[in-house]
Structures are given as C-alpha cells and as structure tokens.
Symmetry: C2
C-alpha cells in the first residue's frame, strides 16, 4: 500500500472511528453474539488476492462492532472502566504510523526518552518522590510478575545466576489477601514459588482489607519454620469491592523479614492523581514496587500499565541481557528498557500517554475522575436509602457493590442466585452492563462507574433500571 493509498483509506477510517464513537450510545452495551458467530462470519480460506477496503469495513461494521462489548459506552459499568480516550487514540495512531522499533535505546532514542518523560510526569502528578523509576508494561498481570521475579531474586541473592529457584535450600514464600487479583496467584505460580508457598491472608469482613495481624503471624510462623518470606502483594482497590489494604502496616511487617512489598493499584491508581484522595495511598512511597494502569479509569488506551520500582539496579540485574548485536557506544549513558521487564521489543507506547496528557491536560482528567467519584456517592446514597437494597462494601472510589434483598428472601443461596438474576435482566436490556462477583463466598453486583461519557443522568437511569430489573423477578 502506497502512502497515497493509505491517505485515502486512513481518512475513511478516521471518519468511521468518529462516527462509531458518536453512535456508541445506541448500541447494546454487552455483546449478545453467540459463541462461534463471529468466527463463522469471518472464517474461510486465507485471502490470496487483495480485497477492497469496502469489504473489510463492511465486516468491521456488521460483524466486529456487534461482536464486542461497548466499553466506550456511557452504559458500561462492568469489570472496571477501560477508557480509550480519543486523545490517546491519536497518540496510538502516531505510534503506529511511525512504526518505530524499541529494542535498545539506539533503535529509537525518542521511544525510550519519551517513556522516561511521561512516567516522570505521572509520578509527579501522583505525588511520588523521584526515588521511583517507571516503565510501561502491557498489563498489571505482567507488572506483578515482574515485581515477583525481582522479589524472588532479592530473597535468594540472585539465584537465577546459579542453580535457580530449584536449587534453593529452603522455601521462599509470598503473601497476598484473599481479595487480591487473580493475577497475583498466577504470578506466584509462573515465578515458580508454587501454590503451597502462597499464603492467602484473610480480610476484614467489613472492609475486605487484608488482616495485617494475621499477615504478621503467618510471616513469623514461616520464618520460625525455616521458610523465607520474599514478597507481600498489597492491593489498593481490589477487583471485588475496591478495598484498600493498609500499606503502612504491611510495609512495617514485611521490613522485619526483608520481604519485598509490591503495591497493586491497577484500577485505583488513577485516584492518586487527586490530592484530596491521596491518603488512600499512604505508605506507597515506602514500598518496593508500585503498579497502576492508566488504561483503566484514567483512559489512556489499553495496553498501558505502569510499574514503578525504587531499586532499579536490582531490576536490571534480574532482567538484563547484553548480546553483541544489541550493543552500541551509548550503552553506558542511557536507559535500556529491555532490561526492565520481559519483552525485548516494545511499541512506542509512551506516545499515547504523551498525546493524552498534553491534549487533555491533567486538570481536565482530574475533573472527570471527581465527577465519577461524585456519581458513585450519589448511587451509594440512593441505594442505602432504598428499602430492600444494601450497599455491601465501603465505596472508597467509583465502584458500588449492591445486593437486593427482597422481603422474605433469607436463604443465602437463594439470595446469591437473585443477585445474578437481576444483573442478567439489567444486562439483557442492552442499556447497561454490570458484572456480578463472588466476594468472600457471597454474590453481589458491581456497578463500576467511570466510563468517559458516563454522566450523572446515566447513573440515575441505571439506578432506575436496577430497581426495575430486581423488582420484576417474582419472589
């Protein structure tokens, strides 16, 4: 394809994107396609001859769009916000158009140095000191694995350079709460610690935050039994209920045993941009690593997950490679992000953060986050005031956890089924999408407010819809 052919096609695609975004409000929020429907529609022999842009765009409209959940819709309250701000889409386009290759500093100095600039900007905007060094990863799962690998190597005195974890004389352990994200367990397993060496710390039954007294006891018992605590993962804003672990208490306990503290604030981290909510992040400055995702609530398009560490020298010792074909004369003076994580090659991901922050400005981003927090408080108050409804977890941020308790329905399992049923009725309307979750054994419905276009009137309409759906189920 020549640049001129691209120009024509690119203009058509930009118009399509603008039209799609303008028209997203009318579409069913949850994709209603059956398993296999998209595959059947798109399958066939591999294309041998070029097809027309018209044919591709037709499938984009008729198959792909109905085949995705509309995460950019004001009616999207599922999982967590996954905003793809149009400012960041422009940055992503610039990154793609440029086609730069990030393997070493030399292959694209600007790709490396812009990543330093934007991770520093966000560090400053979050009020973190310049002891922290940031890099962009794809997701919080990867960032957590990177932190756990660094912790493993610190605890074992760089065992990877010798016989590996398998040659270690005594077990190395990791701690996280029962409400930590599934990626923590996954990271522990992938890093080779083994499930037997993951201590699942119980949570407070009201706040769902880690019980740090139990953590302290577990760590002491492990040490007494000859095991070595490598890491504690603290969750700020759990997936179930946006619960906040007590990081200062966790840091204090972990320090006694030299364990690494990784703070996972994948969704909630955006709130650190708000000075008035920074108390929720107390203690982060004392941790060893801190991860959060601009690609969630803040809205820099997926995939854009930040991991900050304090001991970058250790990180480099764990992740570095230096083959001859990647060396250059600049090596001693520059940052090589390949040595800060798993992949060698990287996209110019900094560009989407850079476009987003410059074209939107931090003040407008903060205003939007504050709007969402206010909307969540409105919903929480409305539900708390309504007979038969329960706000069943503290509303620390923008996620409201609801249970509907119809008169006379007292059997716990029946109540669990009821929550899933009314959520399904809401979702089946196509006007909104909420996701149920099981928290400490009981089902509730999460309303995660914070899609970019969601205004108070949308949340009011959602609340009507929830009551209508729950009320329509015969007892």
């Amino acid at each position: 394809m020549t640049p001129e052919e691209f120009r024509a096609a690119g203009h058509e695609l930009v118009d399509w994107i603008a039209d799609y975004r303008a028209g997203v409000v009318g579409r069913p929020v949850r994709s209603e396609v059956a398993p296999g429907w998209v595959r059947d529609a798109l399958d066939g022999a591999p294309p041998e001859a070029p097809e027309s842009l018209d044919d591709v765009m037709r499938d984009l409209r008729d198959v792909v769009v109905p085949g995705v959940t509309q995460t950019q819709s004001p009616g999207y309250y599922a999982w967590f916000p996954s905003n793809a701000s149009l400012e960041s889409v422009l940055g992503d386009m610039a990154s793609s158009g440029l086609g730069a290759l990030g393997i070493t500093w030399q292959s694209a100095p600007a790709l490396t140095e812009m990543e330093q600039v934007v991770t520093d900007w966000l560090r400053e905007l979050c009020g973190l000191s310049d002891d922290w060094h940031g890099a962009i990863h794809d997701t919080a799962s990867t960032a957590c694995l990177v932190a756990l690998l660094a912790a493993r190597e610190r605890a074992t005195g760089l065992s990877e350079a010798r016989g590996g974890l398998q040659a270690e004389p005594s077990p190395v352990t990791v701690y996280a709460s029962s409400q930590a994200h599934s990626s923590v367990t996954k990271g522990v397993l992938l890093a080779g610690f083994g499930r037997d060496n993951l201590r699942v710390v119980p949570v407070d039954p009201v706040t769902y935050a880690m019980d740090t007294d139990v953590l302290s006891r577990m760590m002491a018992e492990d040490v007494a039994a000859g095991r070595r605590p490598a890491a504690v993962v603290a969750s700020l804003g759990t997936t179930g209920t946006t619960a906040f672990d007590d990081v200062p208490a966790i840091v204090a306990v972990a320090r006694q045993h030299g364990a690494w503290v990784h703070v996972d604030a994948a969704m909630a981290g955006s709130a650190m941009l708000l000075p008035e909510h920074r108390a929720l992040f107390a203690g982060v400055e004392e941790a060893d690593s801190y991860g959060w995702n601009p690609h969630k609530w803040m809205g820099t398009i997926l995939d854009c997950s930040l991991l900050y560490v304090r001991d970058v020298e250790l990180l480099i010792r764990v992740f570095s490679t230096n083959p001859s074909y990647l060396r250059s004369t600049a090596d001693g003076e520059v940052t090589q992000y390949k040595d800060w994580g798993i992949p060698l090659g990287r996209r110019f991901r900094a560009m989407k953060l850079w476009f987003h922050l410059r074209l939107a400005g931090a003040e407008a981003i903060r205003a939007r986050l504050r709007r969402d927090l206010a909307n969540a408080q409105w919903l929480a108050r409305a539900a708390a005031a309504e007979p038969g409804w329960e706000v069943c977890a503290p509303v620390a941020l923008q996620t409201v956890c609801l249970r509907h308790l119809p008169d006379g329905m007292t059997d716990p399992d029946t109540l669990d089924t009821h929550q899933q049923e009314w959520a399904e009725r809401v979702n089946a309307t196509g006007r909104a999408y909420v996701t149920p979750a099981q928290v400490e054994g009981r089902w509730l419905v999460r309303v995660s407010i914070g899609a970019e276009p969601t205004e108070l009137r949308d949340v009011e309409a959602l609340w009507d819809l929830c009551r209508e759906a729950a009320g329509s189920i015969a007892p």
Copy 2:
C-alpha cells in the same frame, strides 16, 4: 475530546503519517541524536492545561522523528526488518478507535474469534496441520518464556500447583545453542531454572547450527546424573547469521528424554509462507511449540508475535485463572486467551493481521519476500566475487554476513575492529544502517535485507557504500 474534534485531528494525523512515509527516504536512517537530547527537548512540568494539536505535532516532527531510527526506510538493514505495513497500520487504527477490552471471551467475542481466524489463516499459509493452536503475544521473548514455563510444568508434573520449582527433588535442565537469541537465556533465568541448568550447546563452525551430537551427549549425561531435561530450544534463523538448527534431529533426541521442543523462528518464520523454502522448516510439525513474528519481515506492525502449541490443554492448566468476576455462561464453549499466556487484558491485535492479510493478500506478501531473498543472493554473489571481501555465513534467507579483509591485515583483533569501523562509516552517512555482531568470538557486519521499500537498486547502492566505506580506512 469529542468525536468531531477527533475527526479533525485524525485527518491531520493521517496526512502526517502519509507524508512521513512518503518522505522517509530522505532522512538519516540511524538516529543521530545524543543521549538525553530528546528528554531535554520534551521535559518540563506535567501539562496541566490542554495544549494545541499544533504544538504536539511540532514536537512530533522536530523531536520525535529525528529521535528514531527510520525502520521504514529503504536504507534500513540493521538488526532484522521491522516492517510496519500501512495495511496493518490501518488495522491498528481500527483497533484503537474501537477501544475494545480483551479480558475474557465475553468482554469482546470478536477479539477472541478473529484471533482464532487469523492465527488459523497463517497456520494454513505456513503449511502447518490443524493440530496447532495459535495466539498472539507481544514478542518472541514472551512467547519463548511461555513455552519454557509450559515445558517446566510438563517436566515436573505441574509443580506450580504444589511446592513449585523450589520443591523439586532433582534439577530440571534446558538446552539451546550458543547462537540462540538472548531471550532464551533470559527466559530460562526468569522461569527459575537457573543459569547452571542451561546447557549451551556448541554450533557447527561453518553453518552455525546446533551440534546435535553434543546435544545428545549432554542430555544423556544429565539424565545419568539424575537431572531431568525439560526443554530444548531450536533456533530457525539465528540473530547472528540466520542459521537453521536441525529440528528433526533435535526432536529425535528430545523425545528420548520427554523434553519439550520449542522452535524459535522469530524472524525466519515469514519464509515458511513460501512453499519452495519450506524444507528449511522440516520437523517443526513434530515440535511442541513454534513461535514467529509477523511484526518482523512479513510486516504486520509490532507487536505481533505468534506462538503455536499442540497441547493446548496443558497450556491452559499452566496459565489459567478463573475468578468469579471473569465468569460467564459461555465459559465452557469458548476460547479464553487469558489462559494461554501471561497478561489478562489484551488489545485487539488480531485486527492488524486481519487488515494486513485482507488488504494486501498473501500472494503480494510472498512476492515481496521473494524479492528480498533474490536481493540477498545478489549481494552475496557480488561480495563473494569481490577481492578482499568474505561472505562469512551461509545466506539461508535475506541476511548477508560480511567481513572485509584488507590486504595484509591478518591480526584477528585488528580485523574485528576494522569490521566495526567500516560499518560505522556506512552508518554515519545516514544513507543506510547496518549492525555489526560478534559470532563465535569474531565480529562481522550483518546486512539484513527486507525493509518493505527496499528494492534491488537500493541494495546495489548499499554495496557501493560498503566498498567505499571499507576502502576509505587507511590500513
């Protein structure tokens, strides 16, 4: 930013991309900026108020473009091709504009099912049987780590579900040639095997392919000593010289000990699209995993790395997570790519492959690959016929490894320095970029042909430039 503001900005950016690509030939191929120059130019306080698109575009032109190596230039012969075909850029734009969230099948059925369609298309185009199941990862480093983790778990009977690698009673080992990519060593270390358990197998001094007799001996010795071979990584198209390991021989040896065979064809895999070159890939069908990167020579924009496995059930056992908030009624019937690798969330990466294959067509892609192979043969013949020049490795594909041997220069270290010097003189002209590499202790210069716009006349001009540069160095 509203859809209408995006429309205006998007059109401007599309024009910029088309102009940039049309004008890339006039730019210095290697970025010549000094360490810190980009950072100094872009740094400052985080943006509080919105800035204009004009300001951002000015920095894009004046700072970012000179700050990257021009991988899309016809003069780009460094590392390996990193083509960003404009067809795939369109697909990436569609992916960004849609802003879909790939965490489960339910969150974006089309994102999952299109990935099945395009990985199947490429499997068919490469002549692999339908025993293989593919997924898109960011890079070959990640794909290799995923394969090594699967191998680790197969060899240890799923030790992650018990005490982890650290509780294993006897060491588990991995094998790769001395010419394997640096990501193999990195993967072995990150997976916890430890450097002591990586067996670096020597290569044939002429072909640079793994010496499989030594592999066989190493594995037998390890088994005799009570160690357990978990995996052999076979390289097809090594980074240094595009050497091809003997996969059938490796598979035969590995099978005796139940070891997993991962085939890393990150760059060379594109050649499997050419039936007449498929003999180079003999034995792949019998391996356990096979990875290659459409984002290199084939030209589907970074990041787009494919990993195919045969035992997908094992992969899912190693990588699956199933928390309540990610469950849906479709779970039993659909593919959940979150259980096929490290990250939970995924971009709609299939879109760039889908646009690329449909808009370009496989036949045109094959024609371009054949052009590059012919150009490499032309350069190899020209250099072999020229006194004082040596083609110092077999030209299996599109990378030609050159050494200039001036009359009377016989000291090996002086010769090594000379190679680096003439390469530097070529690169300093700005007209081309080649990268030196150390292969089995000696420096050579790699000319990796295959940038999308590189035609024979460009390779002819490069050859003139190489002779001129080498000839200009006083003995």
